[in-house]
């Protein structure tokens, strides 16, 4: 999957889903997203997104003691974030259905 404007919008919803599994810190989140298929994703894309989601109230953060040094900032999902995550899932599923229909129709014509 390559980076595009479309990806940025989708990434926001995916970040909410990944964080819903449990609190994470920045690097951990980038690693998880890389493993899930966002192979080209870099930290530079994720930090502004985390900041935006936190400012909007979808995420909350807390500094927690770390074994390797100073306390670390962990992000977790808020109730508002859970609601937005569910909205994203619904929107994505209906969009996916519509897009797949359009693609298969076009594909059918080509075939």
């Amino acid at each position: 999957m390559n980076n595009s404007q479309l990806l940025k919008g989708i990434l926001e919803g995916c970040v909410l889903f990944v964080i819903s599994d449990g609190e994470v810190y920045g690097y951990e989140l980038v690693q998880k997203l890389n493993k899930l298929g966002f192979t080209d994703l870099i930290g530079g894309t994720v930090y502004p997104l985390l900041q935006k989601l936190e400012k909007r109230g979808d995420l909350s953060s807390q500094r927690k003691p770390s074994l390797e040094g100073p306390s670390r900032k962990y992000y977790s999902l808020t109730d508002q974030g859970k609601k937005r995550m569910n909205e994203f899932a619904n929107q994505w599923q209906s969009l996916e259905l519509v897009v797949n229909q359009i693609i298969s129709r076009k594909g059918g014509q080509n075939d």
């Binding site: 930090y47 502004p48 900041q51």
Partner: protein
């Protein structure tokens, strides 16, 4: 723990952790750090330092996993930094006024000490205003210049950055000197000997009190500047009491002690910077 103490703790953790970066990652991160810190004077310090420490900790993780800062954070660090700074919380109007007031206060004390050291027993209001305005412009200009040039390839040459620093310093000294001589006579306020003694005593007491009252992050500036303030203020007091025959001795002693206090000013700053690197 106050918010200011928490900010100091974040900065101190950042200084310690940065030592663990390899040279290439250190260069990459230090530029990013300076770029973000100089993006503006009125962003919430806690938010800025918290984000910088978060990024540093993650770059260190990437380093430990065999990756480098550029691979992890990206080839366009300024784009990410611009997005982050655009969303940082701005400080309140009250905090901004406190900042401007503090700067005006410090430059006013300095101007007062310089004017009291003159031969004519009078104060002039114009340098007070101009010094304050110039100091504010200077700080904004310094932040802007560093922010704009930190990623410029040409400033990576030591000779270019050294020459630029010299030109800026010379211009600063020149403008400050011109301001001290800008004294329209209609704005002169005559002062008595008693007033000279009272004001200088208050300056010494005030500068000592400021050491304990000032925010921790500004304390090194105060410690560096204290001897300069004491030397000139004490010389002002002695000049009032001493007989005319001693004027030359006071002048020479003040000059020697002033040079020593300037050496202390720069020496202390250098020592303090090394301590935090």
């Amino acid at each position: 723990m106050t918010k200011s103490d928490e900010v100091q703790e974040l900065i101190s953790s950042n200084n310690d952790l940065r030592k663990k970066l390899n040279p290439a990652n250190e260069k990459y991160y230090s530029k990013l750090l300076i770029y973000v810190r100089t993006a503006g004077l009125f962003y919430d310090d806690y938010e800025v330092e918290s984000k910088l420490l978060e990024i540093l900790q993650d770059i260190l993780d990437a380093q430990n996993d065999g990756s480098n800062a550029e691979d992890y954070f990206g080839q366009a660090p300024t784009d990410t930094a611009n997005q982050l700074t655009a969303s940082f919380t701005k400080t309140s109007l009250h905090d901004r006024l406190k900042f401007f007031g503090g700067l005006f206060g410090i430059t006013a004390i300095w101007t007062l000490v310089i004017q009291l050291n003159g031969q004519e027993k009078q104060l002039n209001l114009v340098p007070f205003i101009l010094n304050g305005v110039f100091m504010i412009c200077l700080i904004f200009a310094a932040f802007w210049l560093i922010h704009q040039t930190i990623y410029a390839k040409i400033f990576e040459h030591k000779a270019v950055s050294f020459a630029s620093a010299w030109i800026v310093s010379l211009l600063t000294v020149l403008i400050f000197t011109v301001i001290q001589f800008t004294k329209p006579t209609m704005l002169n306020i005559p002062i008595t000997n008693n007033l000279i003694i009272i004001i200088n005593s208050l300056i010494i007491i005030g500068s000592l009190a400021a050491l304990f009252l000032i925010k921790a992050k500004w304390r090194p500036v105060m410690i560096a500047a204290e001897p300069m303030i004491w030397v000139i203020a004490l010389s002002n007091i002695f000049k009032v009491y001493a007989p005319a025959s001693m004027n030359k001795t006071i002048l020479v002693t003040t000059a020697i002690l002033s040079i020593l206090s300037i050496i202390w000013f720069f020496g202390y700053f250098q020592w303090n910077n090394r301590k935090h690197q």
